[in-house]
Amino acid sequence: MRMPPFTLHTPNNLAKALALAAELDSFDWISGGTDLLPNYKWKLNSKPDVISLSKVQELTALSGTVIGAMVRIHDLANNDEVHPLIRETAGTIASVMIRRSATVGGNICLDTRCYWFNQTEEWRRSIDWCHKCDCDTGADCRVIPNQNTLCVATYQADLAAAFIALDATIHLASATGARSMPFADFFELDGMTRNVLKPGELVTHVTLPDDAKNWQGAYQKLRLRETWDFPEAGVAAAWKISDGKITGLRVATTGCESIPGDHSDLAQDALVEWVGKDSIRALAEDVRKAVKPVSNTYFPPAYRRKMLRVLTRRALAPLEHL
């Protein structure tokens, strides 16, 4: 498929990259390219300039608590130093061939997806476009018509759920400085804006709390095939056990809405009177209620919601007898 024309820039350090970003009017970052290039091939919001981060060495740090944005998913999944929950989650992303190119930053910043959006230019022309792309035609949302404000495209990245469950912090940088925030705060509830990144800003790395190694966790993912497919729903749970008691519990979801969901408050509430299996059931029901998928991915939304309940229960299964 023919790519739309653009100029590729490959700065070799972070400062140059950020400076370039400050200069350019309209551009996209590219890291692994496994999300951006298919979107470009489909002519989805392509830009005249693209800045590659492949040569920026500062973004490849990897340790037990620091994960650089340019770390490849394949390396993340196969590095013993990495938290088991992150490793497990990373190992489920797409296929091994995609994981060899895809990066942590790219996965975090994955564009939201929708059946009416992730299609070729010819296809989208046949539906008279949608508002996530070619908005200047005034095209409406095709999922929920007659509301031209919010995009309901789905955020289908796996890692976000694991990062939220482990209470990670995300670190951003731009020419004007660096900032960081709790991982869940990075996202903005709109399939078009997606996150808080300002023009010229990028994700540099993610850090886990120092005691992350004391947390265990599990990731459950709904997808038709055990490779290739994006999560239709994903639940990550992390917990800390001291003296045979659960002292901390966090739950996050992905693949259901335009942003990942942090349900740690629900989990925390559940901990108050923890009775094992029944508490898990109740919490799973709460998670289901908290999430409202729409009809724009492979499985119907009603099914995805119901499965959230099952996935949550299964993720928390190790806590049944505590």
Binding site: M1, R2, R125, L224, R225, E226, T227, W228, Y298, Y303
Partner: protein
């Protein structure tokens, strides 16, 4: 190497062993071409000693075979890597998009953004004036229709008055590079008038103001019904009153072949004015014909060059409009044009499995006989006819075997809708309804409390029988297939005996081995297949055939057949099967015809060539051909193998007066079948049979089904190349499991195809694929090449019902919707929980089995029938057993004298169509235009 025969160039051969004196004076000396082999020792082979394991003729499992005396080589029955494998291994195999000609231009196709619209005008001026654009073409450049079936030619290279689906071809351009071509394509402006489109197949049954096509006086009312079929055979009265019955209403999604190679075509008009088209085609001959019609040039002016085909499965067997476009553009601009599809365009051209709604009734009587099958199949043809005429028949007639049935009541209809066209796909027309029949049988067995395996075994048609609609069945290995999967899967311990969520199921299949009636001509005048052989001084044999190698191994099979008859090693056979210029006309690779028809033709050609060489050997040795044996590259005296001549010597002798040896062989099917309308649909010279058992695991909380293991027994008559047969069986399982569990063409609420890419069109990955145990059953078909029948499509059929029935065994839920995606199954599980009053699906009851007295009766009948079948296999009398005898039908008296209730009818009465629930039957409420005046 010490060969007395080798001659140096320029040296007379007279001092050598040529002592026959028949050489003409002045004949040129030559070095012996082709010598230099690493293995000069001939392996002795005597007809009396051909072991059974390589197809020996003495102790055939099912009696002697017509080709037994031609089993002289060692290639048949041996696992053989494909003869073209090394091209594929090294990346040198050229597929459609790998043909690069000097000066090529890139073609792009402008497609319709509307489901259904009238084209008011097309303005191509802006595109034409762009720099780097060489030609633009529209529907106005091609007036003539084409289509794969002569009776339903309804396609144009590009839309002329109307576009009929999103993605329908509107115009095409060729330019210096892809970027220019895309911009030029986008510069074409089209004025459309959008028409109301139809997407639901049931709407296609209704009258419409703007039918998608107009068939003139043959048009059925004002509807979008493209084809309708009505067939009633047998004792329908008894069927209707049968005590055991399972009636289901199936909804089956459309499917795409999912081949990995997108369509691509290169067209070039050479300086002499001849057109060559390179295309990955399953049927170069149909493309050859269509190009001739569209371009208005005689066929001899065209050479269709089949490239390597990156997967076909039926999806590359139509002549395609983009192939016409490339030829039209290349003609206009005088340079080669290459068009390569994006993946999405592959889905737009489609020709995949029809979305279908099938009402299936399976009936059984108190004796456990299958009293009848009642089918109403409405199939969604999309915007064009393609193979649909045939598909409409196949949905019914291909489930009249392998069981003996009391009655057969079929109504079928195919409608046009504004979707990409459906067509032929592996298991053409038979897959969906076969699944429904086999699930119905399972349900009926459940009602009768008998083992579904036994129910099948007690109701099989014997070898050499005639089905209820008149198909001639020769060999059948159905019983052996069932016995083998039963034993190997541990059926008796597992069936209805496993915990919730674990299940086992059986399904059977039956498929044509080549269509008895060729599409384009009368078999009285032309054979079905022709093969030419040529053997020159080098001693190697060139095979010319038009059979399209599409990865199934047809080049290998045909080479093997020739090698076997001539007792030559496979490396001495080279095959030329790519160009219509050099290949005899052939119907190509569809309907599982190649092994049966082309190998038969190849055997005949090889026998002719062998006769010539044997005659020469006779002249040299003095021994009559009857006492000469053709062994591995050596022909020798039967009673003293030391006396003989080499292959090359005999070939040279045979060439003495004629030069290069040539031989031709052809194959045509025996006359057969009934005389009723539609009797030819489904007729084949032989049929393959298969039985599969699948074991599944169902996650009752999520609805996920995982196939754990499958045992797949297929009767292919004789496995010419067991490696390839196993590959076909496993590959069929993969494709069939895809259809039953995940694959579908999803159409959105406005009729748009939502998943035209390989990420969203869910083909199974390596992780979903269970272990498949391929079991080859050899029934030694009396007419097949060395006993062989097809193995490419039939093996797909049984896996679908086997999985569906296994799901029932696991959780007690009957499937009537495909694919069984987790969300669909989960819905059914929820409903089932409600019905059974269970809160947690993990508490669902599991079906169990308590045999009824009928079971023993069936066991006894199955045993008696097994003995009957064995006798029929080995006896000399091969006259047909007639379906219905089990039910009291007397084959010796005419239909009118049979007991009341028996009938044979292909024209419906009002009463036949009265059932308001039947969908396809409604197609008969319209009157064809040509008959409207009579009303």
């Amino acid at each position: 190497m010490g060969k007395g025969y080798r001659q140096a160039p320029g040296k007379s051969g007279s001092s050598k062993k040529r002592t026959d004196g028949k050489r003409e004076a002045g004949q040129q000396d030559f070095g012996v071409p082709g010598s230099g082999g690493s293995d000069p020792h001939s392996k002795l082979q005597d007809l009396d000693y051909v072991p059974e394991s390589v197809g020996g003729w003495k102790k055939q499992p099912r009696g002697p075979h017509v080709h037994d005396q031609h089993v002289t080589g060692t290639t048949i029955g041996k696992s053989t890597p494909l003869v073209d494998a090394n091209w594929k291994m090294t990346g040198q195999a050229q597929y459609g998009d790998d043909i690069r000609l000097p000066g090529e231009l890139i073609g792009k196709i402008l497609r319709s953004p509307h489901h259904y619209a009238k084209i008011n005008s097309i303005d191509t001026s802006a595109a034409e004036s762009m720099e780097g654009v060489f030609a633009v073409a529209t529907g106005q450049d091609s007036a003539n229709r084409f289509g794969v079936l002569p009776v339903t030619k309804d396609e144009h290279a590009m839309a002329r008055e109307k576009v009929r689906h999103v993605g329908d071809l509107v115009a095409c351009v060729c330019a210096i590079d892809e970027a220019t071509a895309i911009d030029a394509m986008n510069a074409i402006s089209v004025d459309y008038e959008v028409l109301p489109s139809i997407h639901d197949m049931e709407d296609g049954l209704l009258d419409s103001e703007n039918p998608i096509h107009d068939r003139g006086k043959y048009h059925i009312g004002e509807s979008n019904v493209q084809k309708r079929v009505f067939q009633q055979f047998g004792d329908l009265d008894s069927m209707e009153s049968a005590p055991f019955r399972h009636e289901a209403d199936w909804e089956v999604a459309g499917l795409h072949h999912g081949f990995t190679e997108p369509h691509a075509v290169v067209a070039h008009w050479d300086p002499s004015g001849r057109l060559t088209v390179w295309s990955p085609q399953q049927v170069p001959h149909y493309l050859h014909r269509a190009l001739s019609a569209v371009l208005e040039i005689p066929m001899h002016q065209i050479n269709v060059h089949r490239t390597f085909v990156g997967g076909g499965f039926g999806g590359k067997s139509d002549p395609f409009p983009h192939e016409m476009c490339a030829a039209i553009l290349a003609r206009k601009c005088g340079r080669p044009v290459r068009i390569n599809f994006d993946r999405e365009e592959v889905y737009w051209i489609n020709r995949g499995r029809h979305p279908s709604r099938i009402q299936m009734g399976v009936f059984a009587d108190d004796d456990g006989r299958i009293a009848g099958i009642e089918t109403d199949a409405l199939i969604d043809g999309g915007a064009f006819a393609s193979f649909g005429h045939v598909t409409t028949y196949y949905n019914g007639v291909l489930h009249t075997a392998p069981y003996e049935i009391g009655g057969f009541n079929y109504t079928g209809a195919r409608v046009w809708t504004n979707k990409p066209a459906s067509g032929a796909m592996r298991g053409h027309g038979a897959v969906n309804s076969r699944c429904a029949v086999e699930v119905g049988l399972d349900a009926v067995a459940e009602q009768m409390s008998v083992d579904p395996m036994t129910l099948r075994l007690a109701n099989l048609l014997p070898p050499h029988s005639r089905t209820i609609t008149g198909f001639r069945i020769t060999s059948t290995g159905m019983r052996e297939c069932l016995a083998k999967v039963r034993e190997q899967s541990g059926w008796d311990e597992k069936f209805r005996n496993m915990p919730l969520g674990r299940g086992i199921g059986v399904g059977c299949g039956f498929f044509i081995s080549g269509s008895g009636l060729p599409i384009h001509w009368d078999p009285e005048n032309f054979p079905h297949a022709t093969v030419h052989l040529q053997c020159d001084m080098d001693g190697g044999v060139t095979v010319h055939t038009g059979a399209a190698e599409i990865g199934q191994g047809s080049d290998t099979a045909v080479s093997q057949a020739v090698a076997e008859v001539l007792a030559l090693p496979l490396d001495m056979i080279r095959i030329r099967s790519k160009e219509t210029d050099t290949a005899p006309v052939d119907l190509g690779s569809y309907s599982s015809r190649v092994t049966f028809m082309n190998c038969n033709a190849a055997i005949r050609a090889a026998i002719e060539l062998r006769g010539k060489v044997m005659k020469a050997a006779h002249e040299i040795t003095g021994y009559h051909p009857d006492v000469l044996v053709i062994g591995d590259r050596r022909i020798y005296y039967k009673h003293d193998p030391a006396v003989g001549v080499s292959w090359l010597e005999a070939v040279h002798k045979a060439q003495a007066d004629v030069g290069s040896l040539i031989a031709t062989g052809a194959y045509r099917t025996a006359p057969m079948g009934g005389v009723h309308k539609g009797a030819a649909a489904g007729l084949a010279p032989a049929y393959s049979f298969s039985a599969y058992v699948a074991e599944v695991e169902v996650d009752v909380e999520t609805g996920f089904v995982k196939v754990i293991k499958a045992w797949a027994a297929h009767d292919c008559g004789k496995a010419l190349n067991p490696l390839a047969v196993k590959g076909q069986i496993i590959g069929s399982c993969h494709m069939g499991m895809g259809q039953v569990l995940s694959e579908e063409m999803k159409y959105g609420r406005d009729g748009h195809l939502m998943n035209p890419d390989l990420l969203d069109y869910k083909i199974m990955s390596v992780h979903e694929m269970p272990e498949v145990v391929p079991i080859i059953v050899e029934s030694n078909d009396p007419e097949g090449p060395f006993g062989a029948k097809e193995a490419g499509e039939g093996p797909l059929l049984p896996i679908l019902p086997a999985v569906c029935n296994a799901i029932y065994d696991a959780i007690g839920i009957r499937i009537d919707e495909l694919p069984v995606t987790p969300d669909r199954l989960h819905k059914k599980i929820e409903k089932h929980c409600k019905q059974t009053g269970v809160d947690d699906p993990l508490d669902l009851p599991v079906p169990r089995y308590e045999p009824s007295p009928l079971q023993q009766q069936l066991v006894e009948r199955a045993e008696a029938h097994a003995a009957r079948d064995y006798q029929r296999d080995i006896q000399d009398d091969r006259s047909s057993y007639v379906n219905g005898v089990l039910f009291g039908f007397d084959p010796d008296i005419p239909m009118s004298e049979q007991k009341e209730g028996w009938r044979e009818s292909v024209t419906p009465t009002a009463e036949d169509l009265a059932d308001p629930k039947k969908r396809a039957a409604k197609a008969w409420s319209h009157v064809e235009r040509r008959h409207q005046g009579d009303a």
